[in-house]
Subunit: 470 residues, 2 copies
Amino acid sequence: MTDPVLKHALDHQPQLIEALKTLVACPSVGADPAMSQGMEDARQIVEGRLDAMEFQRLQRLTPADGTGQPAIYGERMDAPGKPTMLVYAHYDVQPPDPLEKWDTPPFEPVERDGRLFGRGISDDKGPMMIALETLAAFVAVEGKLPINVKLLIEGEEETGSPSLPGILETHRELLDADAVLSADGARWRPDLVALNVGSRGNAGFEIRVQTASQDLHSGRYGGIVANPLHVLSGLISSLHDDTGHIAAPVFYEGVAEPTNAERAEIAEIPYDEESSFEVIDAKPHGETGYSTLERLWMRPTVDVNGMWGGYTGAGSKTVIPNEAFAKLTMRLVPGQDPETAKQAVIQHLKSQLPDYASMDVYGDRGQGGAYAVPEDHPLLQAAVSALEQTTGQTPLKVRIGASLPLTEIVSRILGLDTVMFSFALSDENFHAPNEFFRLSSITDGLAAWVQIMRQIEAIDRQAFSAFRRT
Amino acid sequence: MTDPVLKHALDHQPQLIEALKTLVACPSVGADPAMSQGMEDARQIVEGRLDAMEFQRLQRLTPADGTGQPAIYGERMDAPGKPTMLVYAHYDVQPPDPLEKWDTPPFEPVERDGRLFGRGISDDKGPMMIALETLAAFVAVEGKLPINVKLLIEGEEETGSPSLPGILETHRELLDADAVLSADGARWRPDLVALNVGSRGNAGFEIRVQTASQDLHSGRYGGIVANPLHVLSGLISSLHDDTGHIAAPVFYEGVAEPTNAERAEIAEIPYDEESSFEVIDAKPHGETGYSTLERLWMRPTVDVNGMWGGYTGAGSKTVIPNEAFAKLTMRLVPGQDPETAKQAVIQHLKSQLPDYASMDVYGDRGQGGAYAVPEDHPLLQAAVSALEQTTGQTPLKVRIGASLPLTEIVSRILGLDTVMFSFALSDENFHAPNEFFRLSSITDGLAAWVQIMRQIEAIDRQAFSAFRRT
Ligand SMILES: [Zn+2]
Ligand SMILES: [Zn+2]
């Protein structure tokens, strides 16, 4: 017999889709000051819906200084003694450029072949609506939620969440919960039932290598002065040894080798390496002794994202430049302290610098640690059960090679763990033209969200306390 | 007792200076099609002067296809049985940009503090006028020249002499001579009496390293694909070993180690290394086992003149680029075949390329061999004697680290040696704003040019035949 809440939610999918289209029609591009009206329109639609669902303490949250795009807050504390979830989503979207590559205008959502197209529809307005309408179905059918829910709907996710730490710090009491359930964060692949249980951290900086006070002519100086492009090449080459291992031992401080169990789990994941690399016309390459997925999920990296110096125009110029530049970023894994890892790379570069060159380090990129949900976290177990029951399959636990600032910020400031429970799929062109969201994901998502609410309801609140770090 | 020819020449310095100013007032910038009238005006002034000096067979020379800026030709074969010199100069000048850095307009020559200022006045109009007015003085005083002179006044020196090989090939008979005496090519330093006896050759190309068909995101690919900036850095690093030696043995094919005599000669040259490097805030750096001047004059180099890839704008972008680029040029020394040397570097790079990357080589820069006047060449000996007699000092034999296309082209096509006998000084801002020419150089130059004509007159023509290569 279908859960009456789920039946209600499924019956109201046409209304959900209409509401989603209305929301997607608001150009809530946080990065573009010219679109501030789109941001405000999106906020008002979300607030209107929460109000209709009788969410309490509705308010806009900013850091103490009042700056930034406000996050929307509302709560229903319907279930005393039951767990409290901080449910996360975001209403801001990526810029739509390049506009000419869209088949239909980004802010005029349309349905084609079982897909809804529009900017932000997969990241994160579709997944957010699934979460909201699941809650609405509970309220409509049962008159209340089975657990306590605090909603935090951010407006700066696509611009790097600069205000989120301040919002969490300023509203620590208001946002207190047992764990975070995120409606953002895409699922890996359409062909797999999976849960994302970890992400890498990041850090970065820029260097400038200098060998003289001015550009020099190679006819007058070739062979008698150092060339900063040669020096910089040497520094970059020195970062990795022949096995692809980073040649700065301190960089690996705190990094655990994957256990046999982890390796076995990763090895079991169906992954067509050959075709994955064929699409990008590249060959697998990385640290010796690790599989591709181990490299991507369990191993830290240092990459040069940009490098330049000297004459880069058409034709030739026989210059020996006096300076050369490189931008570097790292991907970090659990156990690494970002500052320690970054300083290890900087110290390594300094140790390799010859005495005829100088080096500046600047342009700190901000940084964040890696994150992994504890394997036995009750919310993760609830998510596993919910997917098992709605898909008939045990979800594979996967990680991502990228960073999820939310998880790390929430962990650091509120001491809470986060489970990503989005129904976006990673092939849905978010951050690219022709972003879309599968209609089938709405059905799948509603079923899973109704079920995870039931699962959380069944958890003894005390089970969370072992994991809370504040 | 002063040579009456020299006395005449010195007495007519005011006229020489006036004529020089008139010539400098023509903006003969060959690189700028908008200044073609300036080129034509300069040609007509030079032709008028040669006509007045009763030079014969006056004509404009181009390659067989008639393209390019014509060179001016004229001859006086006044001395049957005596040596014939092909006297070289050029009437085109460098572009004057940046105009705002000139204290007075570049094409309004003025005299200040013993210096004449104007674009092209040092390179090469002043030195050319010294040569021409020396010849005029002989004609005025003695009614003829003491030797046979063929004048070749080029119009494309500052744009790389693209037509010069064709001109020499097409007019091989007309231009046949015993040796080339050049009024172009600066003296090294005001404080030294020196003769430039050698220059380095050059070659160059561009490479592109590719590892994938598109830029990749470091969150999705960091650690599992090769980064072309790392690959390129490795290639560039592999070019030199720890001693600064180029790690491609074939590159050194034909390169002779400096002899003890050459090293001793170089060591004797007064050269304040410390202050030379202080001005550019750099430290001496190069191949172990060689002095700075040996490195600059006797040793070949490979330098990266430009290198780039990935994101080079402000801030950060976590991209793994799919391609990276470098522009490379070489400086070559006598004995090296430019093509062999270039291919040695290319083959070395290919041999270092890992199998997960591909490399294109393109953008050939053209190339030219190094050049050195044979030590016992009669024209070099004549130049030494002329300077000894007019300065009281034995000129030091120096080389330059840059390339002199003229010497190499003339050697290759006409089989003739060239002696540079310019009275420009290397600090006179040619190729820069506020180019100037010392008035004292006119006096010094006239004396030396009168004297070298006398010296050449005394050479038995047969002495040249051992050196002619056609
Ligand atoms: Zn998102
Ligand atoms: Zn010149």
